[in-house]
Amino acid sequence: MIEAKRIFVTGASGFIGRSLVEQLVVARCRDVVCLSRHAEVRNESWDGAEVQWVRGDLLRPGSYQNKLRDSDVVIHLGASTGNHTAAEYRQVNFEGTKGLIASCHEVGVKRFIFVSTVAAGYGDLHDYPYALAKRDAEEAVKGSGLEATIVRPTLVLGPGSRIGESLLKFARLPLVPVLGDGNAMIQPIHVDDVARGLVELVADRTTIGETIELGGREVLNWNEWFRRARRITGKGIVRPLHVPLWLILPILRGLERIAEGKLPVTAGQLSVFRHDSSIEVNSILNRIRDDMRDVDSMIADSMPADKLNRSEVTELDRECEIFAQHLINQSVSEYLFEEYRRAHEKGGPLSNEPTSFDNHVLRFARRGGWRLSVADAYARMFIPTGILRRKLVLAMALLENSADGADRFNLEKSVRPITGMFQIIGWGMRYVVLLIFGVALFGPRHLIGGGR
């Protein structure tokens, strides 16, 4: 059965991909081929399993076609998520899928599992280019003639979930802004449960031609979700601040015209606050339902590393993760944690005795987010060779020279010189603002007790 199959996974180093590969190994699948543009993910528990990594790009079928040959099942997760332009979403999520379908025909792979999104089923998608591209890709899959199943997960949470982290950021603010009336229903699912559902699908031929929705055990509304998030993160319950969507959406749409792909959140992504995202029960859900995670544990799992207190994550690991997030906006692999620890053992950033003020800035910076940005700016100007800068430069050196971050030192694609100039000016202005904050925050203490 599944043990004998060769399974080709696209987007294998991504959020769902990593969990899927893990679950395939757990299900004793002996032959997994992982396609990724990024780094190989290493995991000691996979020893003995045949997990092969192929560095390739959905947009260049030539880069993976050879490895696709002899595969029995394709699970297609690879997609652009986050902040991109409509053209970029279309390119990767639609054209990339079409390219993969064509390649499957060419090398004779029949079984095709396409992971889409529950948002592809929302009515109006004109300001949600991500979901639109996914919906068009679904159509391409349906018309492909392959033995295809389309999977639409709902809100996926778990370790490394970007959307989970953003939602939790809001949940932890002194006042919790909830968009709209907060009554839209959601049915979040843990990333490991999505992965288990996908594994079930591999061997299940009855779902061919169907669209399967995957959601968790509980259905709740946004107000309830935020209430629980506050409880679990140890914040007191407050009355949510409802921000009307009719106010936010037009502003966002206007901004998107000017700065497409650059905004932290888009009008489309907010449609999750307007539409109900609960789902119909199906055979796959029935099979995995009993072991599914509840919403509380999903929330706990989605907490970014800097908010965690898990014992196996050492302080240095957390610091490394936070610094990487700060510098390149990306999580890093176990390999980088190890190297960061090792560099500390060799002395590296610690070779200068830090002053108590140095340590104060470092402790502040370790909390990540805006605090780290302010500390970074202040340190550049006033403590350029202090412990924080030495650690940040070390993190940068590690990122630059490993698969974890090397890509981030280059543009994904060229922009016009004038756009580039504006970006430079923007980063320059950001620095000035951060510096002013930094002076206000650290200046007095630095002046009074900056010495050893």
């Binding site: 550049r380 430069v393 940068m396 020279n401 543009l411 016009r416 100039m421 430079i424 980063w427």
Partner: protein, 542 residues
């Protein structure tokens, strides 16, 4: 059949030895010969090494992370990668005392040129003012070396200052930024010459653009700085391999040349060497001796010889080095372009500024290096690190670096001497250097002129980023035993034969009479070859 002992396997030593072997001599090469690790993953390019190697950080930063340049460490814009550090490792027991001079020595197989950037610049008659020889004497040897090592270049405006050689290969294609600068120059060359007295053109570079002698042409893997796995970029160790194919060649590594035993008739009889493995001494006899260990090490060997022979410690005056200034610049038209590392990484363009006097030319190498260690550069940006990285992504293709070289002349204040230690030890080398009083004026003037030309090419020089390298950093050391026609103490003839010890020759930079603003490596090779072919008579081979 006569035997010559050569000390050192660097650029001078191997080219002398090759010619001497071809002329029928038996050659024994004495060398410390520290070796680097073999090239890793030769099929990968610079980007895919990071993505596909099991432990890329071990390669790029070194096992001890010494390649990570943290704030407060003394780093350069592009330092020497960890696995090339062996080139500068000094054997135990060798010591040095310097003032005003950052003295680097190499005890590596292939010498300092194992870490060179391939720039090969012939001297012209103006440069050789003060030498008892002229360009004509070196010309055939420049061409022969060009053929031997594989030299790329073209006949362009630079010919005004750099005589064009035979046997040049087509250059390797330039990156987008380089092409842009070249195009801008072509539009403005008349103005740049008439107003700035400057010319620009393609560098002469010792990198193959087609396969030669078992070496493969440059495939633009972007790994130049990290060591070319295809041997497209020439290094002396390539010629050393060729030397080993001669039966009359003996390579004795792990040995440090200490002094020569000189007979009463003023001829050297044997070279005393210390075996670094067990500390024992060996005595190597020969008909002639050639010192090619680099100006500092050859001088030390000569000074120790003199001390043991004449019981006298002397100074060798006239030490020179090129002052270098690193000037980063930015080309706004290149901003926002995605960076492509698939290029030859070292300088492909050069610039020369005419001087007030013929020998005052200023030479600039223009590098659009993409594969340097970025964290070393980013920490110097005048913004926070996150901002620096985001800005850097946008300007990566637009960045360039001009390496400005200034000439040097021999002065009495700059010398090499020794401080004797125990009877059984090699002496401590003492180096003293005081810059010329007009040095800072010349630096300022050169920077101003270079900036002006860059502005005409549409480039911007960010303030506060230009760095004056300390004396000694360029490692173009020369001039302690200069050539002269009049027999003089501590000088050599135009054949580079010592006036003090009859059968001793100097094949390295120590015989230079002045140091023009040009990397001297190519001239070292040509001159070493000249010494062999003019002074080492052909032997009958049995």
């Amino acid at each position: 059949m006569k035997r010559v002992v050569v000390v050192g396997s660097g650029a001078s030593g191997v080219h002398f030895a090759l010619n001497a072997l071809e002329r029928g001599w038996a050659v024994t090469m004495v060398d410390v010969g520290k070796k680097g690790a073999p090239a890793v993953e030769p099929e990968l390019d610079f980007d895919s090494m990071k993505a596909e190697m099991k432990d890329p950080l071990d390669y790029f930063l070194g096992e001890d992370f010494s390649g990570a340049l943290l704030p407060n460490s003394e780093g350069e814009y592009y330092g020497i990668p960890p696995h090339k550090q062996y080139i500068f490792e000094v054997p135990a027991g060798e010591s040095i005392d310097t003032r005003g001079f950052e003295a680097l020595r190499s005890y590596a197989l292939g010498g300092l040129a194992e870490a060179w950037t391939g720039g090969a610049y012939p001297l012209n008659d103006d440069d050789m003012a003060g030498f008892p020889i002229g360009y004509k004497d070196l010309e055939p040897h420049y061409s022969a070396v060009a053929k031997e090592i594989g030299l790329t270049g073209v006949d362009d405006d630079m010919a005004r200052f750099f005589p064009v050689q035979d046997h040049l290969m087509e250059p390797v294609a330039m990156d987008e930024h380089g092409e842009y600068l070249k195009l801008r120059y072509e539009e403005k060359r008349a103005r740049i010459w008439s107003l700035d007295r400057a010319v620009m053109g393609r560098s002469l570079v010792a990198v193959l653009s087609r396969d030669q002698d078992g070496r493969e042409a440059c495939n633009k893997s972007g790994r130049c700085l990290w060591g070319c796995p295809r041997k497209a970029l020439y290094t002396p160790s390539i010629t050393l391999e060729k030397l080993k194919t001669f039966e009359r060649f003996t390579y004795l590594d792990g040995r440090l040349g200490e002094w020569l035993e000189v007979k009463d008739n003023g001829e050297a009889e044997a070279l005393m060497v210390r075996c670094l493995g067990n500390g024992t001494r060996e005595r190597i006899e020969a008909d002639r001796f050639v010192l090619a260990a680099g100006t500092l090490s050859s001088s030390r060997l000569f000074l120790d010889t003199w001390r043991r022979w004449k019981q006298e410690v002397v100074k060798l005056e006239g030490l020179m080095d090129n002052r270098q200034i690193l000037m980063p610049f930015l080309t706004p038209a290149m901003i926002g372009k995605r960076c492509d590392t698939h290029n030859y990484q070292y300088h492909q363009l050069m610039m020369a500024l005419e001087g007030e006097a013929p020998d005052e030319m200023v030479h600039c190498q223009i590098t659009t290096l993409k594969s340097a260690q970025l964290h070393a550069i980013l920490q110097n940006a005048p913004v926070d690190l996150r901002g620096a990285l985001s800005i850097f992504r946008v300007i990566r293709t637009a960045l360039g670096l001009v390496n400005i070289n200034l000439r040097d002349k021999p002065r009495k204040t700059n010398y090499v001497t020794i401080e004797p230690r125990g009877a059984d030890e090699t002496s401590k080398l003492v180096v003293r250097y005081e810059p010329d009083v007009r040095d800072s004026m010349r630096i300022k003037k050169a920077c101003r002129r270079v900036k002006r030309v860059l502005r005409r090419l549409g480039c911007v020089v960010p303030p506060g980023m230009t760095r004056i390298r300390p004396m000694g950093a360029s490692v173009h050391y020369a001039g302690t035993l200069p050539m002269t026609e009049e027999p003089t103490l501590f000088k050599v003839g135009k054949d580079c034969r010592s006036y003090d010890i009859g059968n001793l020759y100097f094949a390295d930079g120590s015989t230079f009479c002045n140091l023009p603003a040009k990397n001297l490596t190519y001239t070292l090779m040509a001159n070493a070859r000249r010494i062999a072919s003019e002074s080492f008579e052909e032997q009958v081979i049995d």
